[in-house]
Amino acid sequence: MIHPEAARRLRAIVGETWYRDDQEALVAHSYDATPMLQSMPDGVIYPSSTEQVSEIMKVLSEHGIPVISRGSASNLCGGTVPVQGGVVMVMHRMNRILEVDLENLTATVQPGIITAEFTAHIESFGLFYPPDPGSMRISTIGGNIAECSGGLRGLKYGTTKDYVIGLEAVLASGEVIRTGGKLMKDVAGYDLTKLLIGSEGTLAIITEATLKLVPPPKAKKTMLAMYRDLYGAARTVSKIIESRIIPATLEFLDNPTIRVVDDFAKLGLPLDMEAILLIEQDGDPETVERDIARITEICESEHADRVEVAATREEAEKLLTARRSALTALARLRPTTILEDATVPRSKIADMVLRINEIARKHNVTIATFGHAGDGNLHPTATTDARDRDEIHRVEEAFAEIFEASIELGGTITGEHGVGLVKAPYLEWRVGPAGLGVMKGIKQAFDPHNLLNPGKMFAKETRKRVVVQHG
C-alpha cells in the first residue's frame, strides 16, 4: 500500500487520471512478456514530462517507495514485474520525437515512443535507424535502451548501444543528469551513456535519448540456404565472415523449427533439413550482387542442399516469412512458449544446437532453436503448458543444462534479453565475484536506497541452476 500522503502528492503531480491504484490498473501492470511471472504493484503512474518524473522520484524516495519504469512490458526477463511492489511508471505518454537534426544526423526522442513508429518517421526523412528487435512494433525506444536490445541486423549494424549517443535521465533522488550529446567524440570522464544502456531500469529513469542515424543502404538482396548437415550450416557462417563479408542478416532455423514453420506457413520447405540459413545483404547494388554471389558459392561448397536467391522483393518477402513465422508458429503449438536467449561464439553454433537437441530429448521436452547465427545469439524455445507441473519441471532441468552448455562453449546466459529477474541468480556465474562487486558498487552510487527496479539484476542468492518457475 502506498502511504496516502504519497498518493495524494503523486496525484497532484500528474493529475487524477494519470495516477491509479484501483484493482484493474494493478492487475494490468503485474506482468510482462516473461512466462509465468506475476506480482502486484501498489500504484501505477503515467508521467508526461521530465519535470514530472523528477517530482515523482522526489516523492517516492522520500517515502522509500520502489519504482519500476515500464515501456511496453515486452521484455522476456521479468524486467518489469514489480516483485517488491511499489509504483510502476509507464512511459507511454512521453512519446514525442523532439528533433530530427539533419545536419548532425541525429534524432532526439522521448523514451515512450514505439520503436517501429520511430523508424517509420526516420525513413520518411530518407534516413535509417538500424536496431530492429523482433518486438519493434510494440517495444519502446526507452525499453530498447534499458535492455540494449539487438535485432536481425545486429551482425553488420550492431545493437542499440551503437546508436545511443546522449541521454537525459532522472536519478532516484529526482535530480536530472545529461550524458553524452550530439558529439561523436567525447572522453570527459566515465561514459555514463554506455553505463545506462542495458541498465534495465536499475540505475536511473531515461527521459530523453539522442540517437545516431545513418544513410539507408541503396540495395538489398535476400537468400535462403538449406542444409542436411548442421555443421555445414555452421561452417558456412564462419566462412562467410572469414571471407570478409558481413551480411546485414544471418539467421538460423533448426530442424524442429523448420517443421513447425512449414506446417504453419506452408512454404514447402524440405522437412529433412537440419538447418536453414536466411541471409540478407544490403549496401551498394554492385557490392550486394558480388557478396550474394560469393555467399552462394560458399553455401554450395559447404554442401547446401538448396540455395534460393530472391529475384524480386515479393520473393524476398516469401523467404523472410520463414524466419518471421518462427515465433508465431511455435506459439500456436502449445499454450506456454518459453523463448530463451543463449549466446555462444558463432563458431560453436552447431555444437550448441546439437547439445540443445540432445538435452531436449533426454528430458522429453520440445525445444526448437532459431536465432541470429551471425552473432551466435540463439533462441532455444520450449513449447509447453504452464499447467503441467511435471513437464515444466523437466523444461527447467533442460534449460539448466542448456545454459551450462552455453557457458562451457564460451558463451553467456543472455545475448539480448537482459538479466532482469529471471537471470539475476546467474549473473555472478557469468561475470565473476569481482565483476559483480563492481556492478553492485555502481548500483549503490546511483541508487543508494535500492528504489529503482529492486530485485532485478542482483539476486539475494547466486545459483548455477536455472529455475524457470518462481513461486
Binding site: 484501483d22 484493482q23 484493474e24 490498473a25 492487475v27 494490468a28 501492470h29 503485474s30 506482468y31 510482462d32 512478456a33 512466462p35 509465468m36 511471472l37 506475476q38 506480482s39 502486484m40 503515467y46 511496453s72 512490458a73 515486452s74 514485474v81 514489480p82 516483485v83 517488491q84 511492489g85 509507464v90 507511454h92 505518454r93 514505439i114 518486438s135 512494433r137 510494440i138 515465433l327 508465431t328 506459439a331 500456436r332 499454450p335 506456454t336 512458449t337 503448458d385 504452464a386 499447467r387 507441473r389 530485485g455 518457475q469 518462481h470 513461486g471
Partner: protein, 458 residues
C-alpha cells in the same frame, strides 16, 4: 518482501462471488493461458490507442479475466465496465502470434456478466426491449419500420425537433436520430419478391441474408445487392423465415438468445438448398460465419452449424472471387468528360478481422471506371460504431470517431464507402460532426457499385 506468485494450473479457487464463479466456469481457460502477454495486440487496439492504458488493451483485458478466474481479483463494477469498453472489433486477433481467440473470451465474459451482474450495466433495459422484443421478430421490425418511417415522413420529426423535445434525449441519441435514413416496412422481399434469376449463365444459387436493421433502414441496399449478384451470374433466393443473425446479442453477452436465433436461421437456409449464403453486413456476416463455433457444444446442431458457416460469404468477396465482375462505369460529367472521382473505404472490422475479406471490396472499387481509390491512414481501425457501442459508450465512441474522421478528411474523397450498416451510420454521423466542408458522402459499397453498374448499362 517477495510478492511473486507463480501462475499455474487452473486454480482450484472457490469463488464466493457468483459472478466470479460464472466467469471461472465460462471463460475458456486454454485461451487465457495461450496469451503469452507479448503485447503485439496493443498497437492494433483502438481503445488502447485512445487511452494508452494497459487495462484498456486486449492483453490487459485478458489479464483481468484471468485474474478473476485465478481468484486474484474480484469482478467488481470497474471490471464489468472494462469488459464493455472493448469495441469487439477484433483487430487484436489477426496480429496475435499465439492465435488467442479474444472474441470468444470477451463474449464469454459478457455472457457471465449478463447472467450475474446486479444490472448496473448501462442501458440494460433499453437493450432488452430491442434485443428480445424487436430484433428477433420480423413483424415487429416491420412495425418499427412503419412507425419510424411515419415519424420521419409525417412531419412529426420536424415537430419533435422544433419543439426541442429531442433535447430531452442524450446528445448521442439526438445525433443518431438526425442521421437515421428513412425507415420502411417494405423490405427487400416486398419490393422485388423472394426470387431473382441470374443474368446470363448461372454460376451458383445463393441465398441473401437480409438482416434485421438492414431490411428496415437499408432495404434499398438489399435490393441493390440482389441486382448486383444477379448481374454477376448468381441466382438469388431470399428465405422468408430467416431472422436476425444474433450478433448484437452475442456481442453483448446474450449467447443463449443468439443460439436460438442461429438455429432458426439454419433451419430457414437449409430448406433453400443454396451454394452460398450471402451477407452484405460485415457485422452480421462475422457471426453467421461463426455459427459453428456458437453451436459447438450443441450435439444436435453442431453439424448443421458447420454446414451453415462454411457457406457464408460477403457479397464483395463472392462477386470478386467467384462471379463475373460486371462493368462498372463512372457516368460522364456534363461536359462529357467526367472528373476523376476520389473514393475511400472504411473497413468493417468484422469483415476484415473475422471474415478476412478486406481485399475484395478494394478489388471491386478499383474496377470502377474513372475512379481513384485512396486508402485512408489506419483504414483497418474501428470507427467506433461497433454494434451498439456508440449508444452504450458514447464517450469512447466519440473519440474513436474523431480520430477516424481526421484520417478520412485527409483523403479528400468524395465518397466514403463501407460494408456494414452500423459503420455506414457512424460514418454519416462522422461526416456531419467532423466532416471537412460537406464534400463527402458515406455510402454502402453495394449501392455505389449498383449505381455505377446501372449507369454503365444506360
Amino acid at each position: 518482501m517477495d510478492k511473486l506468485t507463480a501462475e499455474s494450473a487452473k486454480p482450484a479457487v472457490r469463488h464466493e462471488n457468483p459472478l466470479a464463479r460464472a466467469l471461472a466456469e465460462k471463460l475458456n481457460y486454454d485461451q487465457l493461458t495461450n496469451c503469452m502477454r507479448c503485447g503485439f495486440c496493443l498497437p492494433a487496439c483502438p481503445t488502447f490507442k485512445e487511452t494508452g492504458m494497459e487495462p484498456e488493451s486486449p492483453r490487459g483485458r485478458i489479464a483481468l479475466m484471468k485474474a478473476v478466474a485465478d481468484g486474484l481479483m474480484d469482478p467488481d463494477e470497474a471490471f464489468q465496465e472494462q469488459m464493455y469498453h472493448c469495441l469487439g472489433c477484433r483487430a487484436c486477433e489477426p496480429v496475435c502470434p499465439a492465435d488467442v481467440k479474444y472474441g470468444q473470451l470477451i463474449e464469454q465474459a459478457r455472457d457471465s456478466i449478463e447472467d450475474h451482474a446486479d444490472h448496473s450495466v448501462p442501458v440494460k433495459g433499453l437493450r432488452k426491449l430491442f434485443f428480445d422484443g424487436v430484433f428477433p421478430h420480423r413483424s415487429r421490425l416491420k412495425w418499427l419500420g412503419r412507425s419510424l418511417g411515419f415519424y420521419q415522413k409525417s412531419g412529426l420529426r420536424r415537430i419533435a425537433r422544433g419543439t426541442g423535445i429531442m433535447r430531452l434525449f442524450p446528445e448521442h441519441m439526438r445525433d443518431m436520430e438526425r442521421i437515421l435514413p428513412e425507415a420502411t416496412a417494405r423490405g427487400v422481399v416486398e419490393r422485388i419478391g423472394a426470387f431473382y434469376p441470374a443474368k446470363g449463365k448461372m454460376i451458383a444459387r445463393v441465398a441473401l441474408f437480409r438482416g434485421c436493421i438492414m431490411d428496415v433502414l437499408f432495404a434499398e441496399t438489399n435490393v441493390n445487392t440482389v441486382k448486383l449478384l444477379s448481374e454477376a451470374g448468381f441466382e438469388v433466393v431470399i428465405p422468408d423465415s430467416q431472422v436476425c443473425c444474433g450478433a448484437l446479442h452475442a456481442h453483448s453477452g446474450e449467447l443463449g438468445k443468439a443460439r436460438e436465433l442461429a438455429r432458426s436461421n439454419i433451419r430457414a437456409f437449409k430448406e433453400a438448398g443454396v451454394d452460398y449464403i450471402v451477407s452484405n453486413a460485415g457485422g452480421c456476416g462475422a457471426l453467421l460465419i461463426e455459427y459453428d463455433h456458437l453451436l459447438h457444444e450443441d450435439d444436435d446442431w453442431r453439424e448443421d452449424g458447420a454446414w451453415f458457416a462454411s457457406r457464408v460469404i460477403d457479397v464483395s468477396r463472392l462477386i470478386a472471387e467467384k462471379g463475373r465482375v460486371p462493368d462498372f462505369a463512372e457516368p460522364a460529367g456534363e461536359d462529357g468528360r467526367a472528373q476523376q472521382l476520389l473514393i475511400t473505404y472504411q473497413d468493417s472490422c468484422h469483415l476484415r478481422n473475422v471474415m478476412k475479406s478486406g481485399g475484395a471490396p478494394r478489388q471491386l472499387m478499383n474496377r470502377v471506371g474513372n475512379v481513384r481509390f485512396v486508402e485512408m491512414a489506419d483504414a483497418g481501425s474501428c470507427c467506433g460504431s461497433a454494434g451498439i457501442y456508440n449508444v452504450t459508450q458514447p464517450e469512447m465512441a466519440g473519440r474513436v470517431l474523431e480520430r477516424k474522421m481526421d484520417n478520412a478528411n485527409r483523403t479528400e474523397a468524395r465518397y466514403l464507402l463501407t460494408s456494414n450498416p452500423g459503420c455506414l451510420l457512424q460514418m454519416k454521423l462522422g461526416i456531419e460532426k467532423h466532416g471537412a466542408g460537406g464534400q463527402m458522402e458515406a455510402m454502402h459499397i453495394v449501392d455505389f457499385l449498383a449505381e455505377r453498374m446501372a449507369a454503365g448499362k444506360s
